[in-house]
Every structure is written in C-alpha cells, then in structure tokens.
Symmetry: C2
Subunit: 312 residues, 2 copies
C-alpha cells in the first residue's frame, strides 16, 4: 500500500476502540450506514476489523476486491471462510484466550445457582409457598459431582473457580490430558450419568454439533443441571426445552442459543432456566484488550512484521 | 433423672434425625399437635431439641417446669433467653460452625450473579430487547471491589470461594483481625463507598440492627449489589425495597428477611432481586451433622460428661 491503509469497522461502535493513525491507517467513515458504504466503497477497503458475528463468506469477500487483511477482535473465527481468504492472499488474525476468565465467571455462577436451586427458591417465595410451609431443605454443594465437557482455556478457569466450593470435579474431552489433575471420564455418556451438573465449554465444530442431546439429558435426570457457554450448536435446544418442560431435566443455564438472538416466546413457560444474551466474554475489559491486540496485529501487518495471533 | 429422659422435638420432622435409645432417652409422642402436647405434658419434658426459629423466652420456659437441657441444632441462639436458663439451671448447647460453607456457597453465588447482572440479562431476553439490539457489554469481575461485613466462619468461607474470581476483597467488622490477609477498612461507610458489592454475614444482635440502611445503599449506588445471609434484622428492608425500586441501589440477594417468612406482595415489582427462603445453611448434610452433635451433647449431658458445644 502506498497510501495509508483504509480500515472498515464491521460494527459502528468499534471506531471507539482505538484511534486513527493518519500516517498508517484511518477508519472508513460509514456515516452510520455500513451496507451502503460497502456497496459504494467496498473496493477502497484494505483491512476489515470484525468480530465473530458477521459472516465473511465468498459472497461477502467478493464485495472487498482489494482486501488484504481481516483483523478479528474475537477468539472464534468460524464465521470466516479461511479457504477463500487463503486463495485471495488475505491475512487473518484473531484475539484468542482473552475472555476465558470472564466466560468461566458466568459458567460457574450459572452452575452453582442451579445446584443451589435458586430459580426454584425464588419461585417458592413468589408463589407464597413459604407463607404456609417451612423452607425447603437442599443438598450441600460439597462432594456434589460436576462434569466439564472440554477442558481448554475456559474449562481450566472453571476448575479454578469451582474447586473451593468442594464439588467433585470430573471432565470429558476427545483426548485425555495427563497434566490435568481432575478425573477424566472416557465416555461423555458416563460423565453425564455420574454428575449432577454438566458444564459445556468445548470447541464448537462439526464434531460437536448436537453433542448434548436427549441421551445426555436423560443421564443428568430430573435433578440435573446443564450449563452451556460454548455455542448454541453444541446443544439440541429444541430437545432441551422439551426435557425442561417435562421435568426430565432439572434446570439449564444458557449464554448461547440456536439461533441467536433468541426470543422470549421460545422460553415462555420453560421452568428453571437462567438465560443471558451471549455475554460470557462480552466485558469492556476483554474488549479493550482484544482491540489492542487487533491494533498491534494491524501495525505489524503494515510493517511486514510477524503477526501476533495469526489464523492464516 | 432416674427414668429415661423424655425429649421433646420442637419440630415434628426432628424425630427422624436420630433414634430413641430406650435405656437413655425417648421422644415424646406429640401425635402431630405440639401445642396440645406442651399444654398437657410440658412438665414431663426433660430435654428440648430445638432450632433457631422458636422463641424460648420466660413464658415458654414456664411451660416446662422440669426442663434440664435445651439442645439446639442451630448455630445461633438469640431465640433462647439465656439468663432465664441460667437461673433455672438449664444446660444449653448449640451446633456452631457446621453450615458456614453452605451459607458461603449461597452468598458467593448471589454476589457473582448480581455483579454479572444476571437478573437484568434474563429480563433483557424475556422482554425481547435482544431481538432488536446487540447484547449488552458488562464489566469483568476481575479487580472489582467486593466488601464483606463480618469476617467470622462464614465470611472466611466466602473469601476462599471469591478469591479465584479475581475480585478485590476488603472487609469491615467491629474489630480488626491481624491474621486476615484481605484489606480491613475501618469504617463500614467507607467500605460501602469503595465497593461494587457488599456481603452481609455479621452476627445479628442489638448492635447490628439496621446496620445496613439508606446511608449504605447510597454509598453502593445504582451499580451496587447487596447480599444478606446474616439475619433480616441487620438490613432496613423497607428502605432497601425503596432504594431498589427507585434505582438508587442496583440489586440485592436476600436469604433472610424481616419478618420471615416473607411474601410475594412485598417483592412484586422490585427489580433485580434474588430471593431464597432462608436456606443458606438448610442442607441435609449440615442438618444431619448438627443433629449428630446435638445427640452427642444429650448423651454427654446424661452421662455428666463435658458438653461438646455448650452455650451455658
């Protein structure tokens, strides 16, 4: 590039994450209309700043004929057609591993809330059962078996946070990891059968689509709790809703859905659910750290230095 | 006592906690009507097995003219008139410190759920705001200041569980404790001003009645979260409800109320609350451990051995 690089932010809020450097790059002004900007000025774009939401497939890439780089502020990149990028010699960077702690905070809180029967407790008070009956007695979290599906960065942060509660932690993943101290269970089905709670934080891909389905819900059972902070595709959500409504499964905490955004009609009259709008990793602190990494990647790309977190 | 001791359980369910030992003691059969049993056979009772709920004041003690011992399965004993017991030479035992971990589980989960804005998130989905808007961005728990009021057995269990979340823990109590590693703040008012969340787990007595009031809510502010697992009397609940309704305080998690049981009308249209029916310590595991201690205390009392957890 002989000119300063032109960067298009796929979300208008991204402009605030880091400043222009007029000698090196500048934000493309979209005047609040990204669709019109792409239609009229797509060929001027050198670099896309994106997240994991928008689909960057062949059709979309065709709209940016001079694109040289995609800098994503997300860890995941399943939204990007990497083969097309490779064929077009487009560099792709992501921002991995920065929100593991934030996602673990949410997963652990959802799990302990469900094991403590918080949704049931609130309902007990708000339907005035407490007025006429003694408060219900529950089980202690101590020694309660809790399983983790997928022990990557997020799973390991979950282990750190759950350990002081005294729960009995086990895990399953496609490959055992000898360095992990908690018990490995060889079959997912067996893990679900042994556990009161199951936290899903595995990688979402074609091998894990609907990995969590009716067979797993039945192993968890009427007192069982499921938490999903991976992606909606990993859980058969329609089957999950039926299992919760019938009481075959005790409760669920979901930060991710299939599809997103989910809506209120889908969850009306589904008991014992804790729902959050895909915000496990959506913290200001993580966002700024991810943006800083994207900025460094863009600088290095322009300087022809090694990329800090290259996907391609 | 030349006869086997007669034990009256103040709650019918208590009969199941440990068995008769016909040579030493036996449960008084109430035929499901404790009030009538006391009226007709109160003078036959040697030992009361009680919890922290029923008031054992002078008038009640007058109904048991031959009472020799009160064995409580609770830690707290503010329901018992100890001066009257002393004057009547009635031994009193309790079951302290056994549910600290259970109460801490609930307190920590309430606090992280509020700091993660879980009630707001669920409402965001169930009012279909997510359908038209991007998911909200929140703050990370990491480095978020959280204060603990009272650092006894429960408070110390809370510290263990909150530490891996990376929050910045501080505490206040009437006396500094040099052995505690987290920061001590000398004034409660200052602790509230410095913290995003405040967990109340101090001893409930005449010095802490309404300790947590409007002045504290105002320091915590619109983003602040209060959790109370002590007793309802420690918080000015009417002022709390007004602060939540007006948005002057961000949210509250309450396991204890003033009075108990609380009812649904009191909490209708109060936003961002997590309510549980005084069940912090109400686990089967703790209950059986407390009952086992009460049984041992009764055995030792009858054997004239040292009591294991004597209040008087």
């Amino acid at each position: 590039m002989t000119h300063a690089a032109t960067v298009l932010a796929m979300h208008s809020e991204m402009h605030t994450l880091f400043p222009n450097r007029p000698d090196r790059w500048g934000w493309m002004d979209t005047e609040g209309d990204i669709e019109k900007t792409i239609a009229t000025r797509g060929s001027d774009v050198d670099i896309l700043l994106s997240a994991s939401i928008e689909k960057l497939d062949k059709a979309m890439l065709d709209r940016f004929p001079n694109l040289k780089m995609i800098a994503s502020i997300s860890a995941g990149f399943s939204n990007i057609d990497l083969e097309e990028c490779r064929a077009r010699n487009i560099a792709v960077t992501n921002a991995p591993g920065m929100n593991s702690g934030d996602v673990a905070d949410l997963a652990v809180t959802m799990m302990t809330a469900l094991l403590l029967r918080m949704p049931q407790s609130q309902s007990y008070i708000m339907t005035d059962q407490w007025v006429t009956e003694a408060g219900p007695i529950r089980h202690s979290l101590r020694n309660m078996p809790v399983g983790i599906v997928g022990l990557g960065a997020i799973g390991q942060e979950i282990v750190k946070r759950l350990t002081p509660f005294g729960v009995d932690l086990k895990w399953w993943g496609p490959r055992p990891k000898p360095e992990i101290e908690i018990e490995y269970v060889e079959q997912l089905h067996d893990l679900a059968a042994q556990c009161r709670g199951l936290i899903i934080c595995c990688r979402p891909d074609h091998t894990t689509r609907h990995l969590i389905n009716d067979a797993i819900f039945d192993q968890l059972g009427p007192d069982g709790a499921l938490v999903n902070v991976s992606r909606g595709s990993v859980v058969d959500e329609t089957a999950l809703i039926a299992a919760l409504k019938s009481g075959r499964l005790g409760g669920a905490g979901l930060d991710v859905f299939e599809p997103e955004p989910t809506n209120s009609a889908r969850w009306a009259n589904v008991p014992n659910v804790i729902l959050t709008p895909h915000q496990g990793g959506a913290t200001y602190e993580t966002l700024f750290a991810q943006a800083a990494l994207a900025q460094s990647n863009i600088e290095n790309f322009l300087d022809k230095k090694a990329l800090l977190s290259s996907v391609l």
